[in-house]
């Protein structure tokens, strides 16, 4: 990954270390509450990486939805569950899962590094930062023109989700 200057380079690696390090801690920490907090740190690190690649809108959404909403949800769920401090128990499948996980990671990493990606041409008519200005405006336009169907279906999806959730938390008259 090539950035224009040393400063960007340093910021990127710092964000990468924070994101991956905190993600590793999510798995390793015994206290599930601390693990949830580490997950938030990992989310924020990803937001920083989004901001670095000119995806400001995604960065803000990442902070609002994942760093905010989802984090609160996870922490609430942890606090409302009993016996939270037991952490991940070891099971017989753990070694198998480890081998499979490492193999999958290696295969994906190899593909990502070696693959020929459909990148933007080297000789862009304008510097990339000027092409990607005002991404929220452009995204908004696209969502209501080219991708209006997906946008509307997502609306119906939310309606169905609310109806489903409400019928699950109904009064237990049937009990």
């Amino acid at each position: 990954m090539a950035f224009d200057n040393l400063f960007s380079e340093i910021v990127f690696w710092a964000l990468a270390v924070v994101t991956i390090g905190s993600a590793a801690l999510v798995v390793h920490l015994r206290s599930i509450f601390r693990a949830a907090l580490m997950l938030v740190v990992s989310f924020l690190g990803i937001a920083g990486i989004f901001a670095m690649v000119n995806a400001e809108f995604l960065a803000v959404v990442q902070v609002l939805v994942y760093g905010g909403g989802i984090a609160v949800l996870v922490i609430f769920a942890v606090m409302m569950t009993r016996d939270v401090d037991t952490g991940n128990r070891s099971t017989a499948v753990q070694p198998v899962a480890l081998v499979m996980g490492v193999a999958l990671l290696a295969a994906l990493a190899y593909s990502i590094v070696q693959a020929e990606w459909a990148l933007l041409p080297d000789s862009l008519p304008a510097p990339i930062a000027t092409v990607f200005v005002e991404t929220p405006t452009q995204l908004g336009r696209l969502l209501l023109s080219d991708y209006v169907l997906a946008f509307e279906v997502a609306g119906v999806l939310l309606l169905a989700a609310v109806i489903g959730a409400l019928s699950l938390v109904r009064e237990r008259r049937d009990a």
């Binding site: 295969a107 994906l108 190899y110 593909s111 990502i112 070696q114 693959a115 020929e116 990606w117 459909a118 023109s145 080219d146 991708y147 209006v148 169907l149 997906a150 279906v153 997502a154 119906v156 999806l157 309606l159 169905a160 989700a161 109806i163 489903g164 959730a165 409400l166 019928s167 699950l168 109904r170 237990r172 008259r173 049937d174 009990a175």
Partner: protein
């Protein structure tokens, strides 16, 4: 580009179904009569059906059409699946009207969620780009999570709901990761080309490198991850683990819906994605799906033998049948894209309809047989041949069909699938399929024997079936036998539908 009237016409079936679902849910505010809920839902489905027929005529006259700036492709392939989903949803709702008594007073929400899920499945069959595929898949899946956990008096439905929720979230993650690879390699989301002339994935990828499977590492990773993601929905081994638990724990009508409509749309989108976007590397994924088909049906059938719960057994039977259907996916393009041999696609489409009739009959019979006792063990079926003659007969016909015994649709369907496999050079796969059918006879016929030859252990009084239950049993059994005796008509329709995907 705004939404035009033409766009709305092309999406009219889904639109009608969504409106119907909303009306059904709102009607619950006014009246909690389950007859009203059912009538409104069937009305919505009838309008949906009418629009789909109008679209079929339109497509027949003018060819496949894309709508919403190429997000949606309306061709006969998509319409075939829409008919199947709408028909299945209607039968499931009629059959569950008695069962829904135990959801009182939330029957309208239950019905509305089934309709929302059906709308998602219909969109899925017609989705033309990766984003639309993903959003419709979620619309199809999420209501089922709530439906699976709808009975809250026992722990099993809640377990089923949680399992389905977690595993669909994981499978969505696989799917999106795969889509990201496909987009990164091709630079486009478009699976099917449309009027805008934007390049499709297949066009953007071109020939690719001949040394690497799928013509490139990123495509290979994307295709395999997407296969894993869809594998959950298809109950394909090794992603089948949730199936028996959810079928057993969820309300029986929800199991029926999942096993038929959900599976049909998932197969449709797999066929469309691989055939249209990755057709160039068909030889590679044909091998992949052939291996998966063999493993899936063998594991499904072997584990089914030791089951003692009828719904759980139907879950393993669904896994085994996912394997048989995958034979058709593997046979689709063993010839490659050029020869345009549609035998694989049309045999999958034919079998999806036949499988829906057989599985619905089996689940509906189980609804009737367990309505009063709630006992789902196979032993509890003893003596049902005398206690509930119609339901027992329907279950027997359905199970014989699932085994593949003539003159049922199951025999014809398997014949077409195995034939497609042989024609595409996959003789070994057809042999594996035939051996598996013989193995499956052991447990399918075992249930029939229990029903007719064993005396009931305790209660021997007749089990009554409501009119709605009897009606759906008659319809599905008639479909199994009629399509078994005269498969020509449906096969012709399936061929026409398949040709929409090939051209």
């Amino acid at each position: 580009m705004g939404i035009t009237a033409r766009d709305l016409f092309l999406i009219a079936p889904e639109l009608a179904l969504t409106v119907g679902a909303t009306v059904v849910v709102l009607s619950g505010l006014v009246s909690r009569q389950r007859q009203l809920t059912l009538v409104l839902a069937l009305l919505g489905l009838a309008v949906t059906f009418a629009f789909a027929i109008a679209l079929w005529d339109n497509v027949h006259a003018n060819g496949a059409q894309s709508a919403f700036n190429d997000s949606l492709i309306v061709d006969k392939f998509a319409l075939y699946i829409k008919f199947l989903v709408a028909g299945t949803a209607a039968l499931v709702l009629i059959a569950s009207s008695e069962y829904a008594e135990r959801f009182r007073p939330y029957g309208s929400e239950f019905t509305g969620l089934v309709l929302f899920s059906a709308a998602g499945l219909m969109l899925l069959a017609a989705a033309a780009d990766l984003i639309t595929i993903y959003v419709s898949l979620e619309l199809a899946t999420l209501p089922v999570v709530a439906l699976a956990a709808f009975v809250r008096t026992r722990i099993a439905p809640i377990e089923a709901g949680v399992k389905y929720l977690l595993l669909s979230a994981v499978s969505s993650a696989f799917l999106l990761y795969g889509f990201a690879f496909l987009y990164g390699a091709s630079g486009t989301m478009q699976v099917v080309g449309g009027s805008s002339g934007a390049p499709t994935i297949a066009q953007a990828l071109g020939e690719g490198s001949p040394d690497v499977p799928f013509g490139g590492l990123a495509i290979m990773a994307g295709a395999i991850l997407a296969t894993a993601g869809f594998g959950f929905k298809l109950s394909m081994v090794p992603f089948q683990m949730w199936t028996p638990d959810v079928y057993e724990g969820a309300p029986t009508p929800v199991g029926a819906f999942l096993a038929t409509a959900s599976k049909a749309a998932a197969f449709a989108v797999v066929l469309r994605l691989f055939y249209e976007a990755l057709g160039g590397s068909s030889a590679d994924w044909s091998t992949l799906f052939a291996a998966l088909a063999a493993i899936t049906m063998t594991i499904g059938n072997l584990v089914a033998i030791v089951q003692s719960n009828v719904k759980r057994l139907l879950g393993y039977s669904a896994i085994a049948h996912a394997g048989y259907l995958l034979i058709g996916v593997a046979a689709v393009t063993a010839h490659g894209q050029e020869t345009q041999d549609a035998a694989g696609i049309s045999s999958v489409l034919f079998y999806l309809a036949g499988y829906a009739a057989m599985t619905l009959a089996a689940f509906f019979a189980v609804i009737v047989l367990t309505q009063r006792s709630g006992d789902e063990r196979i032993e509890a079926m003893a003596g049902m041949g005398k206690r509930a003659p119609l339901a027992a007969l329907a279950l027997a016909v359905a199970l014989l069909g699932l085994t593949g015994i003539p003159p049922t649709v199951g025999f014809m369907g398997k014949l077409f699938l195995f034939n497609a496999a042989v024609n595409s050079g996959l003789v070994w796969l057809a042999v594996v399929g035939a051996v598996n059918s013989v193995v499956s006879a052991y447990y399918y016929v075992g249930i029939i024997r229990t029903m007719y030859l064993r005396e009931p252990a305790g209660d021997a009084s007749p089990v009554a079936a409501a009119f709605s239950g009897r009606l759906t049993l008659w319809i599905t059994v008639a479909a199994i036998l009629v399509l078994g005796f005269w498969p020509g008509g449906l096969l012709e329709v399936a061929r026409t539908a398949a040709s929409g995907l090939v051209s």
